[in-house]
Symmetry: C2
Subunit: 307 residues, 2 copies
């Protein structure tokens, strides 16, 4: 990448990002401008992905790296019960990989943005001799006072998780579908008390809900939806442990009242599995209950560090 390559890249991005609504300033000023949205809360998420940490080439392609950088942010907005809106993209591009590599990164990002009706409204491109770094800052909206926090789980709530868990890093961490549509359906169907996306591993992300809500939980070990992606060479105990602690599943973990929980069990409104894995308790701490009734502490061993 040379300076002229970077200018060419920006022109290329501008031609490929659909023209935003007339009252939204397009790419090419000091800052992007978003009109006020009455009665909406604005949601803001950001994630930085680094080559060698969050993806490697291969198995990642530049398109998949760009895709993932947006997907992890879409997952954050989904976990707040929000609708994604517009994204700012910052790139540190490896100079020796050239402009086609950079365009491929952006193409992966642009394709997913279009799928989720998200505008790319600005960004910053840089070249250096280091590896690829992508930062996305994503905005979304939620109806005022209706974003779903981590802090509202209540004793007696039923705990659910979408999809299945474990083995993402060897299978779908580059290709997962952010649960934006699923979160919207759940929000319409039931009263979501607390929600988070499983980025850090079920045990760790559950702990975030428990800490923020000042409650505890009992999880039924035999109810954990263990992913088919996990090697059958592993023992059941090993596969359960991975389902509880592997990161990057990006499924939704949420709590609802028992009445709403029963409604979800009676008729799953989602096109993907939905599993009742346990209950919120008044007593602090997370416990794992075996089929024989015995309990052990559910230990969190997460590794992803947003604030």
């Amino acid at each position: 990448m040379t300076a002229s390559h970077e200018f060419e890249l920006i022109e290329w991005i501008q031609t490929r990002c659909p023209v935003p609504p007339h009252d939204l300033l397009s790419i090419g000023d000091d800052a992007a401008v978003v009109p006020p949205q009455l009665d909406k809360e604005l949601l803001l998420a950001t994630d930085m992905l680094m080559e060698g940490t969050h993806f490697t080439f291969p198995p990642a392609t530049p398109e998949l790296a760009g895709r993932k950088a947006l997907a992890v942010n879409l997952s954050d907005i989904a976990a707040m019960g929000g609708v994604p809106h517009s994204a700012l993209v910052s790139l540190a591009l490896p100079r020796n990989r050239g402009p086609e590599f950079a365009k491929a990164v952006m193409q992966g990002l642009i394709d997913l943005a279009q799928e989720f009706r998200t505008e790319i409204i600005g960004g910053d491109t840089n070249s250096w001799d280091g590896p690829l770094v992508i930062n996305v800052a994503l905005m979304g909206t939620a109806s005022r006072t209706h974003s779903i926090k981590r802090s509202n789980a209540r004793a007696g709530d039923w705990i659910f998780v979408t999809g299945d868990l474990g083995g993402s890093l060897t299978s779908h961490h580059l290709t997962f579908t952010p649960r934006v549509k699923e979160a919207a359906i759940l929000k319409e169907t039931v009263s979501l008390h607390a929600m988070i996306d499983v980025s850090d591993g079920l045990a760790s992300d559950l702990q975030h809900i428990l800490n923020e809500s000042g409650v505890g939980a009992v999880i039924q070990s035999h109810q954990i939806p263990i992913s088919q992606c996990l090697s059958t060479e592993l023992s059941h105990a090993e596969r359960l442990q991975k389902a509880l602690s592997d990161g990057e599943d990006f499924e939704l973990l949420f709590t609802v009242s028992p009445e709403d929980g029963q409604r979800l069990l009676d008729q799953n409104p989602l096109p993907i599995p939905l599993t009742h894995i346990g209950e919120i308790t008044g007593e602090q701490g997370a416990k794992l209950q075996q089929p024989d009734g015995s309990m052990t502490a559910l230990e969190s061993t997460g590794w992803k560090h947003q604030f």
Copy 2:
């Protein structure tokens, strides 16, 4: 940096970032929540700074690197005539430099945020074996339809620049003051037609205004405010060239009507120099006029690539 160091860092950040207003969700959910601001446009800027490209240690300290990452974004919001509001901070932290280094980066950023009444409302910390990378996404507000674009310069406008130009990379690129207050004063005093911050060099940034506005300009070479920071061993022509093309001055370049321009000349409302450097013309292209009246093309040789 280990995982436990990162958790400790996040707790440290949380204790040092002032509690946001009651209706703004604090650090610690999937996304930050900002309440709607009626009759305000939301401004969004982002910049990624990489060690070895935008700063090196020394002469930079970790505090100054953090400071600069926010300062360049504050400068973007200033150039839109906006008031900065809240920031998301993403970090790729060199593992071998340890947690004190990471805290120092954040301290530099937090101190500048407090000076400009900007809340740090969220972010993402990561460790790797690469150099330091800092991304800031900054939100601000402007009165509805009153953000200052690059696209509204008109033939006959007078062109002004704040402060002086050139030599930033060997002097003040780590310590410059973003012109947020100055932009607010100018906006109250006159009708700003077009404005940009000089991040890329005067000639390049002027060209952005000309391109977006579909106009041209004549700049008076003897009016360029050449920085005292430039070595006196350089010839006048060399110093002029650096004032025209060095990046990272982060001064404001703007256009106003001749009547407003005369008011600024009669009484400078700013605590820093303000110089009338030329005029916008109906004829496209940027020209540099010498004291003897001869004209040459003003070539842009910028290197910073936001979109």
